[in-house]
């Protein structure tokens, strides 16, 4: 669906994207995570055709997206801070988008109105941030896009509405094969919906895998070794902490191989648990000079 190759974008000499490579498969829900200033929003603005890259290629549906109305008509985007024309109501905004997007479905809009009960006759400026987000989702999903780009999508929504909206999005993923790219700092929620994850730092994707691959490739090991016994050689330990004799290790590699190697060293106690996305994010970035090494989990 999306293919970004060696994308470079500079703002007044600062490289916001520095040779970004990113591939989003068709029908996937792709979580784009990264620290502040990593270049996530810039990358999303390239995907939606707002910004033009200095070099490299940004393709959606196999075509360059910049200045390509055909491709852009298949993309819906909900930015971090939703923009509406001042004093326009939700219905006026809907009519505006309906006039521009050829695939807009009035039927879908009416049906979404039952799930997202915000009066679309009210001026947008009188709505809370969360209600504005609901209107934005209602319009975006009515555009019947092939690609939905979401930047911090659930900010301002209450927990019930978060679930409601994400279930509507997932419904489109399942029924229509919608591809979703989500940039968020709420990694626990991303973990629930994403099947692919890309971790960005310093304008590059430093890690891009399916979530299951990612979780299989890194493990959290709780181990207590006998007195004087060292850990076996060859483990790629990303982080290590200890409480008494109990050590907590974050180890990269196949879970079973790690277990076999540790077992061979004869530990007094050993347990291997999967990492959450948040933990993966923190430890992967720890290896990329991100100052999280002293965070105790």
């Amino acid at each position: 669906m999306i293919s970004m190759t060696d994308v470079v974008k500079s703002f007044d000499g600062f490289r916001a994207l520095d040779g970004l490579n990113m591939d989003v498969p068709d029908g996937s829900v792709y979580g784009l995570v990264g620290p502040n200033g990593a270049g996530k929003s810039t990358a999303l603005r390239h995907i939606t055709g707002v910004l033009r890259q200095d070099s490299g290629s940004v393709q959606v549906l196999g075509q360059e997206v910049f200045e390509n109305p055909g491709v852009k008509s298949c993309i819906a985007c909900i930015p971090d801070e939703v923009y509406f024309f001042p004093s326009a109501s939700g219905r006026e905004m809907k009519n505006f988008y309906k006039g521009i997007y050829p695939g807009f479905s009035e039927q879908r809009y009416q049906r979404l109105g039952e799930a997202l009960q915000v009066d679309d006759r009210l001026p947008m400026r009188k709505l809370s941030r969360g209600m504005q987000k609901q209107v934005a989702f209602r319009i975006a999903l009515s555009l019947m896009p092939k690609l939905l780009v979401l930047d911090e999508p659930v900010d301002g929504l209450d927990p019930v509405m978060r679930r409601q909206i994400m279930s509507l999005v997932m419904e489109d993923v399942l029924e229509r094969g919608l591809t979703v790219v989500i940039s968020s700092h709420n990694l626990r929620e991303l973990e629930d919906v994403c099947d692919h994850v890309g971790i960005m730092n310093h304008g590059r994707v430093i890690l891009e895998r399916s979530l299951s691959d990612l979780q299989d490739n890194i493990a959290k090991v709780l181990v207590a070794m006998p007195q004087g016994q060292l850990l076996p050689q060859g483990l790629e330990i990303l982080h290590e902490s200890s409480t008494g004799r109990l050590r907590t290790l974050i180890v990269r590699g196949d879970r079973e191989a790690i277990a076999e190697r540790l077992a061979a060293a004869g530990p007094q106690f050993m347990d291997i648990v999967p990492l959450t996305l948040e933990e993966i994010f923190i430890y992967e970035l720890g290896g990329a000079d991100y100052a999280v090494k002293d965070i105790v989990l």
């Binding site: 075509q63 055909g70 852009k72 008509s73 001042p86 988008y97 006039g99 521009i100 050829p102």
Partner: protein
Amino acid sequence: MQSKTSYFSFALFKKTVGRYMPLWAAYLLVWFLLLPMPLITNLSFQNPGAGDQIIFYICSVAVKGGVVVLSLFSPLAAMAVFGGFCSQRSAAALCSLPVKREGLFLSCYSAAMGTMTACNLIILLPTLLICCLFHRISPAPALLWFLVVTLLGLAFFGIASFAFSTTGNILAIPAVYALLNAGPIAIEALLVLICYAVSYGYSADLFPITDRITPVVDLMMRVNYNYEGVGRMIVGWRALAGWALVGLLLSAAALLLFRRRQMETASDVAAIKVFKPVFRVLAAICGTGCGYIVFIIFWLQGSLSDALRPGYLTAMLALCCFGMAAGWFCGEMMIKKTLKVFSLKGFVKVFCMAAAFCAAVVLVYLDPMGIERRLPEAKDIEWVRVTSYDGWCELHEEENIALVLELNRSVVDNKVTNLQGDYRNYITFLYRTSEGTVRKSYLVSEDSPNNQQTVEILNLPESVYSRNAPSFEVKDGDIITCNIITYRSNESGEALTSHYEADRSEAYDLWKNGILPDLREGNMGFVEDQYVSDGLLSVDIEMEFCDPVSGDTRYIVYPVLPEASNTIAWLQGAGII
């Protein structure tokens, strides 16, 4: 996969028109108050000349009102319709739409131009009705108004669109627009004013060159109205069409720039990289101008030529350089959106600019090329006009022109002396040569010998005649009024005034046999300090002449001196004194 809305978006067009309805309504109201409203209120005004007056009014509203209204409204319209591209959030929302950049630009551009034209049509219809049905005049003036304001709209909105294309900041749009409209003339005025201050004798029109490239000034000067028939109600169509074409070309340039625009520049003062240094330099020039204005106000109390004093020159340069630095760093702050712009590199650049400016000004002041002393050759001069506080004269005779050149050289030779003292006289020389005109203007000190020389030149017979006689040969009927006022004092010192109004033939007779011979003989018409009265009787003759060819009138007062024997004889013969 092409969208049907890629090159023009009707939805965006409609939304843009609808969003700024109050602005269009204000435009409509202004034109309604300027055009149909006065015509309606004058419906009862049915005298025989009313039709001509209405035609004249409509044409004047078109050419003068049109320039004012459209030049002020266009930047507002540009700020409204293109404002969405001047903030990061709205620019991102608009540019993510499946519409090409051309489509975005054209939809917004046509929303403004289309609505303005629609408003013009709404005004045209009642105007036509009132003209044809009630005032019973031709529809031509109303149609010409429509054509003129449409062309002016193309011109000024084109300039405003171009202003938008260079900046990403909504508040910078009117500033850039003002710069495009008045920048050249303002820069030229600054240069002229500085030359006035530092070059002794420099004199020129304030805007000798750039008025033609300044749309508001050019349109105001060249487009006009007159009474001469339907086909010539409005003159200056070439200027109108020319500026409309410029507006269209600038709109096309704006479109091309917008296509290449990086949307991350939304809210930046300079939207295009190449304009950043231009913007800094323009800000520095504005700062220099501000420094110079402060200098004029606080050092000179508004008197420009005092700047010639060496101490003042230092103050002027200091203020201009300070203004230049302030302008440059302000420009840098606006471009970089930070106050942290005071780098060594920046100071070096400002120092270089200031040094170049000071060097140029000091060079003009010291005049190593001797430009101040350079005067036209006597053989090339057709005539010269001398003007001072005491009066003026126009001289054609060779020996008199030589005297004027001698005076001019003397003024320049006495430059240092003339710069002393607080009380000054001014002397201006305008030379007409075969190659054009040369103007020199000087301040001279009150006790300068040049003052006496000037008075002597002003009292030469040719000077007296040129100052006191009309430029055309006066014939019977050309003197349209003639009043003779006599002041007498009786023995007790009481003043008695009598007044005699001569008819046209008497006036011509007085001119032919009294005043004209006296002027030719040098008996009257001297500059004021030569006037002598016996204290008992004085006579003033006021005459108004009308040029039979141009229709221009000239009003001259002749104080009758005791030496004016011909005039006195005529007055005595007529029994007036």
